[in-house]
Amino acid sequence: MALEGHMCKKPLEILSEEEVKAIHEGSLKVLEETGVVFDHEEALNILKKAGCNVDFEKKLVKFPKSLVEDSLHKCPKSFLLKSRNPKYTLELGGSRVYFASFPAGSVLDEETCLRRPGTLKDVEDFVTLLDALPEVHTLCQPLSKIADKHPLIAMEWIIATEMKITEKTLMGPSFFGCAKWIVKMAKALGQDMLGSITMASPLTYPKEQVEGLISYAQANNPLAILSGPSLGATGPATLAGALLLENAEVLAGLVLAQLIKPNIGILLQAYATPLDMRYGTMSSGAVEVGIMAVGIAQVWRSYGVPTGVFFPMTDSKLPDEQAAYEKYLQLLLCALAGINYIMPCGGLENEESQSIAQIVIDNEVCGMVGRILDGIKVNEETLAIDLIKEVGPIPGNYLKKQHTRDWWKKERYLSKLSTREPYEKWLSSGAKDVVKRALEIGKEIIKAHKPPGLSKELNEKLDEILKMAEKEKGVS
């Protein structure tokens, strides 16, 4: 049994079959002729042994077509990401759509509307909120930087804090050698991590990311292999070219992962984002991000490999209308495209800041998008022909009917956040906009919600591993 999530029965398509094929074949050509750098001696040896053409001096690996295709065949069509509480285990792949939280580098202070550095206490608050919200099916760390721990050890602390609070499944990053310690912690709790491997475009796997790939794969944790070329800067400015590069880049990691652990579960994850040539910033809220997601999902579905994206995102600095239209256009496109792992919950300003209000609003929209995926149920009872006959023309109405009582709630997504009350009631309750209401709801949840937490023994076990990590890294 796995967490239900939502189902996308008929995925949206934007590319023709020939176009999907052109991207696939172009990616294979790039892998075979241009190659990918792996800054990792052991990985180079493994790839060489498997038949790749390896230039050890340049650390450049060229992949024969047959090896890439064999590796794709080894990938399971779906896999489980196990929680320590089976209720929260995910089954990634097929038609299922799950929503995850999104990481950020700092906290948006809701009073001043300015960024401030996050702390472990903020991580606790965000995770408590994410644990309580029903549309957050799985977590990526809500903060990826904190001020009260040394940067070299911050990630281990952040992940341990998530583990201590929530039983929902977690993404495990690979930055600064943290993967090794996160694997140990997950093992102690008897849960999987979704091992996140972030390659660097164009065509480069940094050392720490290869180390992460090996750590997670060897411990039998499924992987999310992420590529995010920035259009016009670290990838072609054309959408098709960026997709082709993105695909080649994740396939290179997929081959290595299947060599290290045959048949390991892999989710391919997209983050192609245009560069704004006016400022040199990433336009992570661009509508093209969503369009490309639909396209790459088609390519990856043609492989039968589970799909993911590292967005929706926005460039807005505040939880405002821009945040809404940017995030939700991308979210809707991704959900309609049937992407298995989408990250809509939280995050503003392109990974820069995290906001309680934004998380609450995102959760609400995820519920609505989930409702869109659920579609329209058509059967004898829902068509209600007999009932229509029974009620007839005016003065007949449907309010006094058992059918209405049975169905109205089941058919509707009931928003707790939107204002639906009459005008004067809204005025007398403070005339609040959605951001204010969301912030109040979020703060109330953080105060009242009691997450499942961990036993004292397991808490101590995690602390022990953190101490070992600090000792080995020489920081505290």
Partner: protein, 214 residues
């Protein structure tokens, strides 16, 4: 002669490296003063491009192509200056690089380009530059400014280490240090004892000039 300068300027403004090289060669053939060609052709063109970028009229990729065109032209013009034993005038010297452990190139290169456009002599040490190499470059080139770029929180620590090393070597007062990049904030720059910080490349140049009272 004025036409050659004009054509060279246009080649750079339009971001055409082949044309820029052709007109630079032409200038040398015509025995024009290479220093004058750099000052009136290259630097003025880069200033026009840099200003237009600042006003949002030209875009990052335009700027990068113009910089590439200027680089092509300047490589042979500088060779000529050396051959003739002339001395080149620049308003100041910047040594710049992305710190150890960090392979992010684009932001740093953009800053280098805008400083060049502002008339600086720029020595770009590249990416993943170890602290010792920064120190050696400060000793060798005696720059007025040292620019340290970092995108990651952990590599931002390296910026602090370079500043510490400058202190230890007794070089700290010889050079103004600027830091920047995705992992760096104004507060962080202050904390590690940098002299200046720019949120983007345009601000970096502005702050750099202010620090040197230019």
């Amino acid at each position: 002669m004025a036409q050659v300068i004009e054509e060279l300027k246009n080649a750079i403004i339009n971001g055409n490296p082949d044309q820029a090289l052709t007109w630079a060669k032409k200038a040398i053939e015509m025995k024009m003063n290479p220093i004058e060609v750099i000052e009136k052709g290259l630097n003025e063109a880069l200033k026009i491009v840099g200003d237009a970028f600042g006003r949002g009229e030209l875009f990052l990729c335009d700027l990068m192509m113009s910089a590439e065109a200027a680089k092509q032209a300047s490589s042979i013009l500088e060779e000529e200056i050396k051959k003739q034993g002339l001395g080149m005038k620049t308003i100041a010297t910047l040594v710049i690089g992305t710190v150890a452990g960090d392979i992010h190139d684009i932001g740093k290169t953009l800053v280098a380009t805008l400083f060049t456009a502002a008339g600086f002599k720029v020595i770009d040490l590249g990416i993943d530059v170890p602290t010792e190499q920064f120190i050696k470059a400060v000793k060798d080139y005696k720059p007025d400014l040292l620019g340290l770029s970092a995108l990651l929180t952990v590599t931002a620590l390296e910026q602090g280490k370079v500043i510490e090393a400058l202190n230890k070597e007794g070089l700290r007062n010889s050079v103004k240090v600027m830091v920047g990049g995705g992992a760096v904030s104004r507060e962080y720059a202050k904390k590690i004892g940098a002299d200046g910080y720019g949120e983007d490349a345009n601000e970096a140049v502005k702050v750099g000039k202010e620090l040197l009272k230019l």
